[in-house]
Symmetry: D3
Subunit: 246 residues, 6 copies
């Protein structure tokens, strides 16, 4: 038990309930394998903006959409080995107020993450994504402040990574980290398949993983012995502190 308590942890902040699967499913599963506690916060279910296929079925209510989306996300999280919670804030637009910030800061305090994954800084196709990025960033900073809920253990300085948006160049997103997810790809693809309402994205994100895999291989050297088939790209927000450059 105490062993579990001492595990390192990672926090994933997802604007809509499926984002974490396409964009960070590999990172989640990989760190679970490395004995991290991975925790996901879904700010909304994406009931308005990311559930087109469900709505087109007809005779659908917002509540049903949200329920289906929650079930899908929960199943995906389970497959990946992560815990998950839903803020149910509503999407298009996501709200932005002090209460959300504090709620998210409290999650940071509770999880004490060793790294945070969230959306890109810009996205001209989706205003909820950069908003989620900003909520994540500001909540983390509040959670670091000694004067916020004084006496609680503050958060240190977990690195923040932006995961891949749908049209990366249009979002000015430039990956500086390529994570080798070859070994747990099958698990990610299983999680992807939970998203019954967005089947058109399954192959799209499989190809994303394959392309990032080829690029990762290129970045370690074509002639190196290591094989990489699937990867995920991330963009760091902060400089990393290290003792080795190789």
């Amino acid at each position: 038990m105490s062993e579990i308590m001492n595990r390192q942890s990672g926090l994933v902040i997802s604007a809509h309930s499926a984002d974490f699967v396409w964009r960070a499913g590999g990172a989640i599963a990989l760190h679970v394998e490395q004995h991290y506690n991975m925790h996901i916060v879904c700010l909304s279910y994406g009931e308005r903006g990311e559930s087109a296929k469900l709505w087109r079925k007809g005779s659908m209510t917002e509540n049903t959409v949200k329920e289906i989306r929650q079930q899908e996300a929960q199943k995906a999280a389970e497959i990946l080995g992560a815990s998950i919670e839903f803020f149910d804030l509503g999407d298009y637009p996501l709200p932005r107020d002090k209460e959300v910030l504090f709620r998210l800061a409290d999650v940071c305090r509770r999880i004490q993450p060793h790294f945070i994954l969230t959306h890109s800084m810009h996205d001209p196709y989706n205003y909820d994504h950069p908003l989620a990025f900003n909520l994540a960033m500001e909540a983390r900073i509040i959670a670091q402040a000694e004067g916020y809920r004084p006496g609680e253990k503050v958060v240190e300085a977990p690195p923040v990574y932006c995961f891949e948006p749908h049209q990366p160049e249009q979002c000015n997103w430039k990956p500086d980290v390529l994570l080798d997810i070859s070994d747990i790809w099958e698990k990610k693809y299983q999680a992807i398949q939970c998203m019954q309402g967005q089947e058109h994205l399954w192959e799209y994100y499989t190809r994303v993983a394959l392309q990032r895999g080829v690029q990762a291989k290129r970045n370690i050297g074509i002639t190196s012995n290591k094989t990489i088939s699937y990867a995920e790209g991330f963009q760091s927000v902060y400089p990393r502190v290290t003792e080795n450059l190789a």
Copy 2:
């Protein structure tokens, strides 16, 4: 002996004979401690542009300046534990031709570096610095090519890091890596003191190391247990490939 041969190595490409000390002396000494073979190439002695104090002494010839600069650099490299070679290309301006590229590519092939340190991409105060960056980059790419001196062992894909220029913001240089050099700071400061012709820079670069140290500490969390007193900043050119994000 073969053990030494199998060591990992790092390559430092320095436009003038003192750059490697101010900008990467910590990285060099630190990796030597970690049993890397560190090798330095000085493209020029900086005899024209970086030897003002020597010239002001009067009755100085270019040859004498170069000799003094070489001795200083050699002594500094020795203190840091690195090997060093001098291309003696002349500075202000550094030449740029195929011969230099191939000579540098050949060093890459010989050293087979696991990482490369060189100048920043821009520097409105010094045109030799970005030129050295471009020579280093292009030479590395040529050294990766199977069709260059076919049959030789090609270079894999060593990461390239740009070290800190004199006025970082004016050079659009943004560090994404902070290297903790606290443990070997004394060695770096000893090497710095070899640069008799540029004494005005000793305290400047001591302060740089202290500032980067404070920033590194901030980036791991003020409340973390680790102490960092001195650091060096680097900007990566390529994405890194990794299996862990914490």
Copy 3:
């Protein structure tokens, strides 16, 4: 009648009631000539920030300023051949809340625009302008969402263009489209003359049109047969999809 209903349409979102004239009057008149239904939304009358001349007359109330500004804008829209509506949200600052977003999204749904014209992303001289840009962008995205007012016809993906701000370089605005408005320039200049309170801008924006005309001519080739005297510049937000590159 049904013919009119089937016309293509364009939507112009203007922070203050005169912006659309200076910045997009040519585009509006030109597309009206091409049988587009052009519709303008003025978020505010610019009663505070863009009516200096009126206020300096003395014995002026906000209501009178708004009335005069509305009459001017209405007359200009008429000349250009466009329909116009006024949100009357107040300026300096424009409000930003869900209600405005939804009201604007509803206009998008009603108009089903084939393209949208609005302000630049940045403007250090005017905070209402980038805010109008963001409202336009987010409203368009909401109007695309199946889950927003389910059952209504969603908006497809109309391109968004940012029109020219007052000091383009300071706004980081870079035109990638130059629209030849030579043929309808007279109409634009007539509309400009409706803006009695901002006479100092008449010649300024005439010169803007002339400069963009010279640049347009340069971009098709000085030796080409086509003459261009007046143009308007626009910056695209999204990539265009095409089947020809010439």
Copy 4:
């Protein structure tokens, strides 16, 4: 008395009650020496986010923290020769609403500043800083508008300068003005020493001033006669209008 009324003035907008000391203390003291009326607005006391040392003392309340911070800031302002007022808006996060904007616009109207100093546009370590920047910018623009509180004397077009953030490169802050503060450095350092709760920053910002001093000297020429020991860096928002380029 009337002489004092006719003095030129400068306005400093500080997110937290100590920011103005580290980042603009030299500029304040220097312009006071030049007979400017310098006025400081502290939007908050930084009671949550910038008072770690106080909180760690234990048995501290928010009110006590705010009182101590106010006393420190007041003492520092006195040493620098500036007047100061406290908005006490609360930090982490600073609020952003129309009331704050108007309150700040009213200060602009009252002070009629010839220049404004405030935070950088970006800061991934502190969301209050760019927010303060945006409040300052927008309030200045409102204060320029004839239609805001019609009849009052409007503000002309005071230049806005962003002062140095804690990790300049990470904030994309690039100084284009270096202010020689050598002559009043002692005053700035005295003001710095008022900040009892942030002693770890005293030496950090002394080194910042020394580095900017070396850079300023470099930018006027190593061989010029003028000596510069300490400087502060600023980034301009607007182009300056001048009649001489030397």
Copy 5:
């Protein structure tokens, strides 16, 4: 015959002999279908840097590599319906001198292209690519100059498009044009298969085309009637001049 002479034309400038296939094969075939004369210039065969698989076969000479590469490229051009010429300048590095510029300017004059396709402005993995971009740009400008070979018909102002590099985000390449190549995809894939020495790239560039297809579809609207399966992305260098914004 004269009909053919009057056709519009497009010029493709390719650093190495296979680049045009992966990056612009679709654009070439599509414009051939639209009765354009498409002409390709290969500056080098990529014999050093892009022929790894051939070199690994052993007992290979540079001449053989070049011959094989030429045959492959010629066959691919034939399939796409384009004419092709080889400058055989040598790669890694490509030379850059006045003679190359003039040779390329002369091709521009001869072809009188209505658009030009070439490499991206930056590529940290390949220095020949941005060099080819710069050669293409400068040659086009020289070909526009009345004083270059006076009396010859100058080139007007053909738009220049940068085609997709291997790792687009790392090259700061951002597509603003998506070309629908669905109808001629089969032809492009046939041309791709000519590149026997780079089989590992066949599936990579098939996925690129599929991803750009999905993105193109997204940029015209998911609910629009048009289907797009394959696309190529391009980045424009110059603003386009147009009379319609839809």
Copy 6:
């Protein structure tokens, strides 16, 4: 005489023989009025790329074009009150070699300028312009080096300003200095009229001056007492060092 020797001076480096008139004619005349020695270097006559109208006259030789261009430039310089010299390096392309650098560095040493005016860093319409910028920058740096022609008086650190290119936004040129040239506008316009071969540009650059005038007025405040009718914009390369911010 010695008085003249002691005057401050400015150096203008112009790629082609007319550039200095359109882009810096006002700055030159204004500083001459302020008793500066202004000196112009024309790297080429622009005989190939900027003399279209002359070439179209027929029966023209390169020598005649150069002669006419030289006479025009000389006359313009005279009107502005500046000295001028011609390097006659040839344009399209300008050469770039050590000899040119040293020749230009020697001019810097001779003139000992208090500021330097030259071209913008980027220009996709003209490769000679950024090349001239780079030559000017590097020559200035060489002229600062004690080891270049040891014993000569080195250059201090004159600020460098980029003057306005033809299509400013396309060149990523952003003015941060607006120079009020209202008082000497007539002189600039006279100099402009010397350029008989480029009459189409007279009104273009008159409008540029008027637009920059309006912007300058806006940047000091519409309500300020000062009138500005004509201005020139410049972009600084280096931070300025100052003792006052108003």
